[in-house]
């Protein structure tokens, strides 16, 4: 019957996805790597179940009417066409349901905005079409580099087989220690970009000439990938973000290596270079 097909199709597709092979068919949020991403997933499921129940209820009525109140089986139309009590009920009850949804959500909204007391502050600058990272405060302060997509052109053009992290790999990854609160300050050098790592549930637009901030606390060691999520021109789809979360020890080691390398390149501490110079450096790499 009409529309009823959607539910078995959905179930079938879900089954397909769950049984997906070595390259699983991604169909849901990426595995959360932070408490915030976990909370977001829970909120989403909470709302989805509520919606599914309401949806089945309402369209249960509709499909029942399609079946039992057909003219072709001789059903005659009744005359009623208004009922104030029912109107009040189906105005108030959805309003109450909305409050029930908004209540747990509000806490998460406020928490997501609380960027205070961060362990490490990293400034992220969006460029057309790459990201710049500047470690501003905390361990690693002074480290700065540009991060550009490293997927080879011939993979994109189809003359070479695509690697596992096609379009989600970069030359210089942002490295952070596990368990620490990382505050990300975003800005941009040209147009609006947006910095996003799905596994952390952190997304923040990067506005040229302005600072914005967000935060994440990675709870797992691993490599997490995201993409620019605001149309920023031709290569908007080709400026990924990669964050590597390591143990505290490995992080200190990485910091040491970065500082040695930058001393060798003659950088002065605390220096901020203009976009032109950074891009030239990045391209020279």
């Amino acid at each position: 019957m009409r529309g009823k097909r959607v539910i078995p199709v959905l179930a079938g597709l879900a089954g397909l996805a769950a049984s997906g092979g070595a390259h699983a068919i991604a169909w849901y949020f990426q595995t959360p790597a932070s408490r915030m991403a976990q909370d977001i997933d829970m909120l989403h499921q909470y709302v989805m179940w509520l919606i599914i129940v309401i949806f089945i209820g309402v369209f249960g009525f509709m499909f029942w009417a399609c079946y039992a109140h057909r003219k072709s089986i001789g059903h005659k139309a009744e005359e009623f066409h208004e009922n104030t009590t029912v109107e009040i009920l189906w105005t108030l009850i959805p309003a109450i349901i909305l409050v029930v949804i908004a209540w747990p959500v509000t806490k998460v909204v406020i928490a997501q905005k609380d960027t205070t007391a961060a362990d490490i502050t990293v400034k992220v600058t969006g460029y057309q079409w790459k990201w710049g990272y500047d470690y501003l405060k905390g361990e690693g302060e002074g480290i700065r580099f540009v991060s550009t997509i490293s997927t080879p052109r011939d993979q994109i053009e189809g003359s070479a087989p695509k690697g596992e992290h096609y379009l989600l790999e970069v030359d210089n990854e942002m490295v952070v220690p596990v368990g620490k609160k990382i505050r990300v300050i975003t800005t941009a050098a040209d147009v609006v970009h947006s910095w996003w790592i799905p596994a952390f549930g952190a997304k923040q637009d990067a506005i040229p000439g302005f600072l914005r901030d967000t935060w994440f606390r990675p709870e797992q060691i691993g490599t997490f990938r995201g993409q620019c999520t605001e149309l920023c021109g031709k290569e908007h789809g080709f400026m990924p973000i990669v964050v590597r979360v390591v143990s505290q020890d490995d992080y200190s080691k990485w910091v040491g290596q970065q500082e040695k390398a930058s001393a060798a390149a003659g950088d002065r501490p605390g220096e901020m270079r203009g976009a032109q110079e950074l891009v030239a450096r990045g391209e020279a790499k």
Partner: protein, 531 residues
């Protein structure tokens, strides 16, 4: 078009019968609301086809990972123009076509209040559409900025951007003039006895939509004009260097943009509110509630705009306010859905093509509305903003919503307009093909968004491959299904079965009860007497 035949349908002795003049000039100079309605409908179908071709181009490139057919710059141009053409060239004009054909007949008026203005409102559109399409052929091509045209990316574009800005101005002017016409007609020209609370709900939804248009189109004009001056005249509205702010553009645009989506949806609600009672053979349930709910939706639509901007970095109080206000709009929308279902409940239902599309609308607009509720939740939106989840959401409400309502209305009213019936069997096939292929395109896009695929990218990571392939196959199917629709309409006009005077048993608005089928060129030159 049977309006060519001036069947002298009015029963008194006035002798001013003259048919419309023939040829091209008839269509250029007509001030007849039926002719102008027809012009809008055909124009919107042409734009729908052009926008649809662009969509097919987009889905062709997205069929598999890698860049195969279209370079990234042209891809951005296609996504931008697909959006602008569909929103301003297809879905808005189709409902203006309905407004023109139906409003005078439904309120017992002989024509629109400003008949000549009506003609100009239409003829602005082909010029604007030409400007839009012409931008592809300019140096630099069409702008690749998304239909939302955010600054400061727009400042980087070539002359195609300026053509687009002028096109948007002209489109806005057409909408504003048309809305003034609609408001004046509805408020001043109802037949005696037709109080506001006796009007068909379709007329109510257009009255409310017209006010929304008058209020918001100038805001869009402001936003694109500021973009124009930032581009060429040294202003810095959206540039921090001069004290401006790119986010200002977003606020101005979305202050227009949110009421805009209700401008698209509300007339569709109106069509459905005519079709469902007709095919349930039962009056619309809760008429007064429907009027209040539609008004509530329109008013609330002005205070929710920043739910499109949760990630720009607004203070948490702002996020909370806009979240609560956006969730609130679910209440009157839910009231409308419940009322439609209650109309069907214990009716005497039949499922001809208009009813099929109306039921498809009901089911899938509600689904889209629910994903809108999911998106209104700020932390969830942080994950889903600018991903394919949003693309899925708005296509459900605008295509499975508004477009299905438009199809429903066309099948419903085409006998009144032409005097001929469409082929019922083919109509049902069109419905099922459209339904299946539509869901194939867009249902899987929810998964893409959840899994993390951003919008407006011509190439994607390997984990998104499967759903993209399915979605693209759906796009080809849906495109072909609309060719069937064209065939059905042309066949109906040329050689359809003559329609009975009352093709739809349960239809009870004035055009069905008081006018012949087909409706004569001039109707209600004397207002009807309503009991």
């Amino acid at each position: 078009m049977s309006a060519v035949i001036d069947s002298h349908g009015h029963a008194h002795g006035h002798d001013h019968h003259h048919g419309p003049r023939g040829g091209i000039m008839r269509w250029v100079t007509t001030t007849n609301h039926k002719d102008i309605g027809t012009l809008y409908l055909w124009f919107s179908f042409i734009m729908f086809s052009i926008g649809g071709l662009m969509a097919v181009g987009i889905r062709l490139e997205l069929f598999s990972p890698g860049l195969q057919f279209i370079d990234p710059d042209f891809f951005n141009q296609l996504t931008t123009m697909h959006g602008l053409i569909m929103v301003f060239g297809a879905i808005m004009p189709v409902f203006v076509g309905f407004a023109n054909w139906q409003i005078p007949m439904m309120i017992g008026a002989p024509d629109m209040a400003f008949a000549r203005l009506n003609n100009w409102s239409f003829w602005l559109l082909p010029f604007a559409a030409t400007l839009l399409v012409l931008s592809f052929f300019m140096p630099g091509g069409a702008p690749g900025v998304g239909w939302t045209m955010y600054a400061p990316l727009t400042v980087q574009m070539g002359i195609g951007m300026d053509l687009t800005i002028f096109a948007v101005h002209i489109l806005g002017m057409s909408s504003i003039l048309g809305s003034i016409n609609i408001i004046t007609t509805i408020l001043n020209m109802r037949a005696p006895g037709m109080t506001l609370m006796r009007m068909p709900l379709f007329v109510w939804t257009w009255l409310i939509t017209a006010y929304l248009l008058v209020a918001t189109m100038p805001v869009l004009a402001g936003a694109v004009t500021m973009t124009l001056t930032d581009r060429h005249f040294g202003t810095t509205f959206f540039n921090a260097a001069g004290g401006g702010d790119p986010v200002l553009y977003q606020h101005i645009f979305w202050f227009f943009g949110h009421p805009e989506v209700y401008i698209i949806a509300l007339p569709g609600f109106g069509v459905i509110s005519q079709v469902i009672p007709a095919f349930s053979r039962k009056p619309l349930f809760g008429y007064a509630s429907m009027v209040y709910a539609t008004s509530a939706i329109a008013i609330i639509s002005f205070i929710v705009w920043a739910h499109h901007m949760y990630t720009v970095g607004m203070p948490v109080t702002g996020q909370l306010f806009f979240m609560y206000a956006t969730m609130l709009v679910a209440v009157p929308t839910g009231v409308k859905v419940f009322n439609w279902v209650a109309t069907m409940w214990k009716g005497s239902l039949s499922f001809e093509t208009p009813m099929l599309f109306a039921l498809g609308f009901l089911f899938m607009f509600t689904l889209g509305g629910f994903t809108g509720l999911v998106l209104s939740i700020v932390p969830v939106d942080i994950q889903l903003h600018d991903t394919y989840y949003v693309v899925a959401h708005f296509h459900y409400v605008m295509v499975a919503g508004a477009l299905f309502a438009a199809f429903s209305g066309i099948y419903f009213w085409i006998p009144k307009w032409t005097g001929r019936m469409y082929d019922e069997k083919l109509g049902q096939i069109h419905f099922w093909l459209t339904l299946v292929f539509f869901n194939m395109i867009f249902f899987v896009q929810h998964f893409l968004g959840l899994a993390g695929m951003p919008r407006r990218i011509p190439d994607y990571a390997l984990m998104f491959e499967t759903w993209n392939a399915i979605s693209s196959i759906g796009a080809f199917g849906m495109g072909l299904a609309q060719l069937l629709f064209l065939y059905i309409v042309v066949k109906c006009i040329r050689s359809g079965e003559p329609a009975p005077q009352q093709p739809w048993e349960g239809a009870d608005s004035l055009e069905w009860t008081h006018l012949p089928t087909p409706a004569p060129y001039h109707t209600f030159e004397t207002p009807p007497v309503l009991k």
